[in-house]
């Protein structure tokens, strides 16, 4: 029976008080496998599991629910093992590393912050800041839209200016929020946002961070800011180095 692994916790991590439902349709109940000083949050894995919305949601849900009862190192979606015994074996391989990570992440949550430009607002900033863009825009409007080369010329100038503004505003977001977090980590790139950053915060002290995010949104109205949290600390877990590789690097 294939086992689906959601996360790794201390061996004394409490079993859920209420049943927690995991991946699959019907959803498979979550259980805790213990081995030595560690435990794994697992369920049976349905055949043909795919990254469907329902199952991604289940993964997140299980980590949120079990994370409320104590630190859980979140695994990436879709981690499978042949059976429960193989999971126990894997827990024994890097016990100290996982214990260190659990200690670091106890009582911590992740907040993910994404920002995109509001198009009209950022265009207005660009027109105000760049005299050449303003001149060309005025000329274009005066001539009822301009000809093709003029439009391409203006568009390229604007695209470059918007690009520069994206870099500038990404730094603005990071500078405003990073000092209020214990750690920060970049999110995956290429998802269409000008900044995608995750922050690690104490679970009980998130208010200063969210208040700062609100202030930032007020001060930078060209930014559409999206703050998601508290989340399992996906971005702050580190893989264990294989012992040999670790030694050879040292």
């Amino acid at each position: 029976m294939t086992t689906y692994i959601y996360g790794i916790a201390h061996a004394d991590h409490p079993a859920p008080e209420k049943p927690v439902l995991g991946v699959g349709d019907p959803p498979r109940p979550v259980r805790i496998i213990r081995a030595g000083e560690l435990a794994a949050v697992v369920s049976d894995c349905p055949d043909g599991l795919r990254p469907k919305r329902r199952d991604l949601l289940a993964h997140q849900h299980v980590l949120t629910e079990t994370g409320n009862a104590g630190a859980v190192l979140p695994l990436r979606f879709g981690s499978l093992s042949t059976d429960d015994d193989a999971v126990r074996g894997a827990l024994g391989e890097h016990t100290e590393h996982y214990k260190t990570q659990l200690a670091e992440l106890t009582g911590r949550v992740e907040f993910n912050v994404k920002a995109a430009h509001r198009e009209e607002a950022v265009l207005r900033l660009v027109v105000d800041d760049e005299p050449e863009v303003r001149r060309l825009t005025e000329a274009l409007q005066a001539s009822g839209g301009g000809d093709y080369p003029e439009r391409v010329q203006l568009g390229e100038l604007v695209a470059n200016a918007v690009r520069a503004r994206e870099v500038h505003d990404a730094h603005t977001v990071e500078r405003a929020l990073a000092p209020l977090a214990e750690q920060s980590a970049p999110g995956p790139e290429g998802t269409g946002w000008l900044v995608n950053l995750s922050f690690l915060l104490p679970r009980t002290e998130t208010a200063p961070f969210t208040e700062a995010a609100h202030r930032l949104a007020e001060e930078q109205p060209q930014l559409e800011l999206l703050v998601n949290g508290p989340l399992p600390p996906y971005s702050f877990v580190r893989p264990a180095q294989p012992a040999a590789e670790h030694a050879s690097r040292g």
Partner: protein, 148 residues
Amino acid sequence: MTVVPAQQEGGSRGGGGTSGLYDVLELVLDRGLVIDAFVRVSLVGIEILKIDVRVVVASVDTYLRFAEACNRLDLESGPKKEPGLPDLVGEITESGARGKSKGALSGAAETFADAIGQGREAASGRSGDEEPRRPRRTATSSRKKEES
């Protein structure tokens, strides 16, 4: 700004609490611990969300779209008139604003939405109020224009 609280419901996972997941899917798929001893489910079909936005921006089509957007700007209203859209409240309006703001820059979010759209539609029967959160650039942009 939008602050999306993580799901808070306990016990079973049916019903609400789905807001926000859509916006952090890339973390579920791309972050989190990977353990060599475990195999991973194939993510084929999801990887199209990895679009380099810069490629999209540096195209003539994008230049023309920016030029067109500048052509519509009201220069007479003065630079400091209304620096941006007002802070928006409400799920539907928020989705619309986000779609609008990202319109010129990338179709990546929409592509992403398409990638998981099948599952989302399958789940929409369970919680009817979540559908408006899906970015809908075309529909909401045109609606915003009518309002302004």
